[in-house]
Point group: D2
Chain length 460, copies 4
């Protein structure tokens, strides 16, 4: 076999060069170059570990380290030449290093495999991005809280089954999303803990032949602990799956809010006005102002679900240890990171610019029998078992519907036809504010309760 | 509207009875009756809360509580009559209660909605089952550790890409699954924390009109805290999703092990023998002994993935608060609970009965060039940069393949044709045990390292 | 090994009895008993084929056939005793047969394997159910067409991005679903063709040792052709996947319609009233009438998606030929069949009972600038390039919004400030009916076009 | 509002410019520029339709057409400047056109919406790519057939449950994949028929105000028919879903074959040798030759499943007609097209270069009791009911296993201890070739049957 200038670093036992199309098909460099910084940080730490293990001399280690830093700068300056023949970012960095510092570059990979190397890179990357996402979640939470605080007196109809149910505070509604996001934040944190474990030094699958101090390596790279089984370390992609599951749940939450943004900003509901700068028009219909941003976030939920499903499928039934299948983890994770970050930050900005139409919202809360439960509870207070009170009020509602009237338009006399328990004091129950203020438990929609929750959050 | 004896408890405002087919289509009772115990425990706690809120007298509360206990017993004795007209377990229990204690039963639902009721039931259920699953994971982990301990000297070829890579200890291999399961255990624990929050008292969506002490309610039901937003509390299914995601990852791990059980027990690999009691035969081929259990666990992974995808799809874009769509959470969760528990327990038993064919395994580790990396590292110790050492050994492997010989069959003289660095001491590197014992980091396959890990685990 | 009375039919080579828990874990009888009729039909045909192949005498064949018919009747009468030890419906039928006719029953399975047997059963089942589903789709299509015909003059706002776009006919809207369902129908038909191929006689994987005439067998079972490769025949589940993909797409279509039913029947949109008999109430709020049926259909879409994903996951990477994993196909298919059939039939009934609120719908179409495109097209007719006309009308809309007026309320004089091309004839463009009637292509919303499409459909 | 030079074509009614980040978030141009050729072909046909509808003069139509052709060339030469402010390929082409031919460019979009425009582009694209994929499937099928033909006498063990089952011909095995691919080919063809329907002229949702002859438009664009409902036409993505479902099933088939390539090329099975040019090495272990191509195809199956799930999720519950969510269809489709095409073509090449190790394969077929069923069928011929014959042979297998002997090593005398029916002629049944040749049905593994199938295929 005549070796071409492009011969692979592992080509010793091969009699044919890699088929050109195979290079393209198998190359991960087009996407994993995103990991260049993590790869180089890891290699610098590995160089130091090799020096401490007496595999490299001080001079060699320094030279390699300097070389790696130069490679990093070259990449960041956009001056690095990558080619598909590099296969992946690991080989590309080693090649660039060797071009800079000569044969000595060939010592960097001593005792290391791409299997533990990429495991490290992915953990470093996930760690970084999970931190960013946690911060972005906090930013979005802060906007929900600020909006809630400044709109404490806005009343909205609350819905179940998308049918008007009971009046709620807009602030209370916004804080529901605060809570969802808080669970998301915790999930990313929990995932972070599990990803924050150092795999390097696991070798290809069995450990490495050199006296590498993995604990020192972990410390150098800012990991509180090391993986405990080399086979597991190189074949584990739990961190990516856990990330995708947390991202899917987060996107699901955002999709619910976005669904409501779309609904509330229709002509029919009309509770909200999205800022013009966050909407687009129609190429054909001049009047259109479309809620593209919430629509797209809602849709991109599917994309993240798809990535989760893709990686779960990839991992199913894979024997230990590393298999090339694992390469398919990256694009799923990268695209989900981008999607989640963009969705969070654009929502954070958009919410600040959106305005609630308080009159329309209050008007909507006033009709539609949202106070029917109050009337039932009135009867309960007068001594009727709830189940019967429910039945009585149900019949009153039926009566109103037949007459096309609202509950508040029915006279006391008429009410008394349905139950003799009705007295003048019923009037105090047919009132939006009163309804809100009677909901006085932790987590309920009464003003002081909502304000208390805001205070708790602010204190954290 | 003439009310039939089967009239619904909410039928006051309706002019038609529910269509028979609608009852069948919408009924959740056929599956949610599984929640009867949780539902009754919750109702007893609610009764007490109503008493404390002065909605019920002591006598009423006692009577309802006794009634609920009787209903529970009736169900457990199989004497309760359920019908599709009951809609769900909540309505069925209320009906059974009212049949026992009369009109007073109609007071139980005061201030409560099925929305917060089912949210409670599901959390109680998930809490129970996650505890069981965590215990079952520990049992399986214990079997892996015990097996590892008693097989510390069994050697196996380690694989990457399903090609022989480096020798490993069977114990080391088994412990890889211990580690995976440990992350699974932690994930269920984390999910448990988030599910262990009390939602009752959130009403339909806005809170309740009665002075319910939700914190006391939480304490009575063994919850350390309460949900902080009523809208969120009734529309949240994160607990179920997080459970399904953790279950999917666990099943994925089991599927990998099962794939290997299938592989290792083929005639070709032949490392393992599954117990006859865990295999089945063929209706046609008399010689067959099929690894049905691992095959089915592998396959059931798909089922749990499917449930996760189903619930994520259900939740996407749902506006707040409760929607009937949420009813679809239960079957996904129930079937996954059953699948996970059955898979864990059957594997735990099967592993105990399976035997490793140590000779076949060792033989397999001896050929196939598993020591090639040792030879490369030998050259590195003699001063050759690793990348060149790799190239030299690659060429030796090629030479062996062409001659159909193994690495250990090549003479020193021949080796020296490839590199003058080869000396007599190379012999010490062409040895399985030596290879294993040189892997001396945390998490590597050397005997003391594996034993140390077993010790650590046992100490926990 | 002492054989128990429950010994398996394949237990000759085994030294242990099947573990009780393994029987439970691996048994498919609890769900595949649904296939009893298909299984027996297939066995009767097989008996005849064995007779023709001279494996059975006339008398034997007759006796087995009679026995199988009796078994079928026994099952249908609910008198058959099934047990988990039967493993599956195939073994259960063989056991019941042998109990009826003695040792001769043991000849039935000659030359056949459960692998080709279950492949046949599943194809027979899918064939039956796909026919039913195709008929159910046609029924639903017919309701859409009938409703369209009787409501040809009802006008509705058409939406894009859930923002009012242009007026449309309600009939036109309903026919959109006719078209979607028509593609669904075709997809099931295409799938039916591919499932309608006879696999029996493929043996366990390689064919059978007896001179079976598979073409005659196919004819007897009503299949137009036979499978062409025995390995493929026993390991193929494409029919189930194709069914699940078609079912997923159908459910997606239904979910879109159901989403609109939920929306249109809100207080805010108010275009539709669902029949009381298809809605349910709230346990707490007496006024509620909830659209449970459309909500549940929308949600059950997730369930069918989940089954598709589950089976795709099961099949991924399975080596040939039969693996026990394939058993997991059935529950996914059965539950999807039930879900699809129930959803179709309940929608068919519900649509008949629902009423459109034509005034509310027309009123909604009148405001919201739905005629803005008409105005732009007016300017185009007057010679302005469309892109400029769009810009001009956009500015007019802006002007109206600022003044809180509608397009129809702007005077000609004001319009002329935006473009001198406006003349008196603009009035003819600011009219709902006119807008509808100008849409005159195939598939557009003009009355004659919609009627023409109804006519075409009726002629089919 | 001061309009910037980057003002949007639909900005008339807006008071704020689009937020920079919204432009990035919503832009589809980075991926939909792939549709430029389809977009321009569609626009040229539309120009002609506008001329025929007398909206454009001959000169205008010619000028626009020429302009569009120039734009196409500019794009293909890489000289077109795209910017995110263009939003999508449709707006980009219109802008480039207007830059070329001035204000007249603003007439192109008359009577058309991006909604029907993108529906057309996607159908044109899918039509093209499905044709390519169908051809690529045929190429792969041809390689399977050629390989089968040239290897008709190679014998392999057949497996069920990955346990040796019965001997088969390698050719028969290869043809199993021919059959799977044939169903895939048909599925793409069926999908092609449904995608091959012309949507243009549906306008934004209701049709268009100009007398466009949609049937002529269809003819010009090579479509046999037009869509029948404008609302459906702009909101339908069935074609993409059906494509993704067919692609998922195809990838599933390829994943099964690739799983076997990985298995068969292990040291342990050793039936196949993949060409060096299609494998890669290890960065650490010099001996490794890894089956990366089959591993990656197997893994990429997950990716296509994920895209299917993503689009199904996007479409679930979307109200009519167009919503921005639909934009998410494209990347899923594009990436799946690329994945499927690359997988098919690289497999086609790789199979040609792979070699079967016929001796190893035959040896593997000789032991492992693959002839046990033959022995049972021997007893059946001697008159024993099959179920008893199965039991007898099972016991013989058990006897052999205990003695570590193979079936062929048991003497007639020993056999007779198990059944007196054994005679000298049993020898004729303990023979691989004889076993193969007794499988004589359509689709079975006998030589003439396999050759006949090859002949049938070649004749097609």
């Amino acid at each position: 076999m005549k070796k071409s200038p492009n011969k692979k670093m592992w080509s010793g036992r091969f009699t044919q060069e890699t088929h050109r199309r195979v290079e393209t098909f198998t190359a991960s460099l087009p996407f994993d170059r995103r990991l260049y910084a993590q790869d180089i940080v890891g290699s610098i730490a590995w160089t130091r570990a090799l020096f401490q293990a007496k595999v490299l001399t001080k001079e060699e280690a320094d030279q390699i380290t300097e070389g790696l830093k130069t490679v990093k700068k070259t990449i960041e300056d956009g001056r690095a030449s990558f080619s598909e023949q590099d296969e992946d970012i690991h080989m590309a960095v080693e090649r660039l290093l060797t071009e800079k510092i000569g044969e000595l570059g060939g010592k960097l990979h001593t005792g290391r495999s791409r299997n533990d190397q990429v495991a490290l890179d992915l953990r470093l990357y996930l760690r970084d991005e999970m931190k960013h996402i946690i911060e972005a979640i906090k930013d979005l939470q802060a906007v929900f809280v600020a909006k809630a605080k400044s709109h404490i007196d806005v009343i909205l109809p609350g819905y179940t089954h998308l049918q008007k149910a009971q009046p709620i505070r807009y602030a209370h509604y916004l804080l529901a999303y605060y809570e969802m996001l808080d669970r998301d934040r915790q999930r990313f944190l929990d995932g972070f803990q599990r990803v924050n474990v150092m795999p390097l030094g696991s070798g290809a699958l069995a450990g490495t032949n050199y006296p590498i101090d993995r604990e020192a390596l972990a410390e150098a790279l800012g990991f509180p602990s090391v993986t405990q089984n080399s086979l597991d370390a190189v074949s584990d992609r739990d961190g990516a799956i856990e990330f995708l599951a947390a991202a899917s749940t987060l996107m699901m939450h955002l999709s619910r809010f976005c669904e409501e943004l779309v609904l509330w900003s229709t002509d029919e509901f009309g509770f909200l006005e999205l800022p013009d700068a966050f909407c687009t028009g129609s190429s054909l219909m001049p009047q259109k102002k479309n809620p593209d941003v919430p629509e797209l976030i809602r849709a991109k939920t599917g994309r993240v679900y798809g990535h989760l499903m893709a990686l779960l499928t990839v991992m199913k039934g894979l024997p230990l240890a590393y298999n090339r299948d694992l390469q398919e983890d990256k694009e799923a994770v990268f695209d989900s990171v981008d999607t989640v970050k963009a969705s969070l930050s654009i929502l954070t900005e958009m919410i600040q610019g959106m305005t609630v139409r308080r009159k329309a919202a209050a008007r909507a809360a006033e009709n539609g029998f949202l106070l029917a439960t109050e009337v039932a509870d009135y009867l309960v207070e007068k001594g009727l078992p709830f189940r019967q009170a429910h039945e009585v009020v149900g019949r009153i509602v039926r009566y109103c519907l037949d007459q096309q009237r609202d509950l508040t338009q029915v006279s006391l006399k008429e009410l008394q036809k349905f139950s003799s328990l009705f007295q003048k004091d019923i009037i105090g129950y047919l009132n939006l504010e009163a309804s809100l203020e009677r909901k006085q438990q932790t987590g309920a929609t009464a003003k002081n309760r909502v304000l208390e929750r805001i205070r708790q959050i602010e204190e954290k």
